[in-house]
């Protein structure tokens, strides 16, 4: 009989960042992928939970005086993307101002077997509340980054 007790319980860590310089203007008529938030992850071992985490910036779209975007987590189990769950949603925006910010999202999701892909997708509230991901103000970009990892409880 043997036991292995480890306090080093973070496993299967994967991360990436998007340095392509690509920016996307959110639309109010369709849902778009947020650049730099997509990641494909295969857990090495089956644990209880996995963490999805990303950092991204957004800014106002040049012609609008306010911006508001609805965003949520999407999942692809191998046959195409679909919205993950109604409790993995959020908005980024404000009234009467051009709102720019850094967004940090950390989701705990149930573990799975095999390979799945995750990303954030968004849609603007109206045609007058568009936003750009990432924020390209002053031609300076902060590259979006994303990570996933599993851990043993």
């Amino acid at each position: 009989m043997s036991y292995l007790l480890s306090k080093y319980n973070l496993i299967s860590y994967k991360s990436s960042y998007d340095n392509s310089g690509t920016t996307t203007i959110m639309s109010s008529t369709s849902t778009k992928s947020i650049p730099g938030t997509r990641i494909t992850f295969t857990p090495i071992v089956k644990t209880n939970f996995i963490i999805y985490e990303c950092y991204l910036t957004f800014g106002y779209e040049g012609t609008d005086n306010t911006n508001e975007i609805s965003l949520e987590l999407f999942e692809d189990q191998g046959s195409g993307f679909s919205a993950f769950d109604d409790t993995y949603c959020f908005k980024e925006g404000a009234l009467n101002v051009r709102f720019s910010d850094i967004c940090h999202v950390k989701y705990r999701i149930p573990c799975y077997s095999g390979t799945r892909t995750y990303e954030l997708r968004g849609r603007a509230q109206t045609t007058s509340e568009l936003a750009e991901f990432p924020d390209s103000f002053s031609s300076t970009l902060i590259y979006p980054s994303v990570a996933m990892y599993s851990y043993v409880e």
Binding site: S70, E72, H104, R108
Partner: protein
Amino acid sequence: MSYFLETRDESYISNFKSSRLNLKTLSQNISYSTWTFCSGSEISYTPDAKADYVVYEYNFYTDTLNSHTLISTRLVESTDGGSTFTTVSGQTAQFNSGDSSIQVETTCNIKFLLDNWGDSSRILRIEGLGNSGANRDARLHRVGSFKYGSSTETRYFIPTVSCYSIKSI
């Protein structure tokens, strides 16, 4: 017979723990006059005895209530299993705007670095306070008027809380 040798002496992260409420809906008003426990922020944690620091992190969402979104937060801890809580000095943060014409709705992330308190268990959690003045409560977790297709509906951002130990070089 087998042995497990502890040979790691460089910097590392250990004893990672996280929690997320298993709920389909969650909406919480944070009083402007009384510090209120923020749902989903509580975690019971025992550090790695050899670590230097403990990181506490709470990722949540702020919604508009009566045109207000400003929220102040503070970290509190319990060393008696949750019977009493005391404020952790220096661990406060404030989010959004006190201007009711702006109404910021956004994700918020709190991340505190704490000195390792030893191998005992403590309960950590966040308390929040809305903007000063009547009818200026803050609201958390609920995502109102979420746009999907051509319609809107109420959705939710169930918060995630986590703790881990850090051994420095």
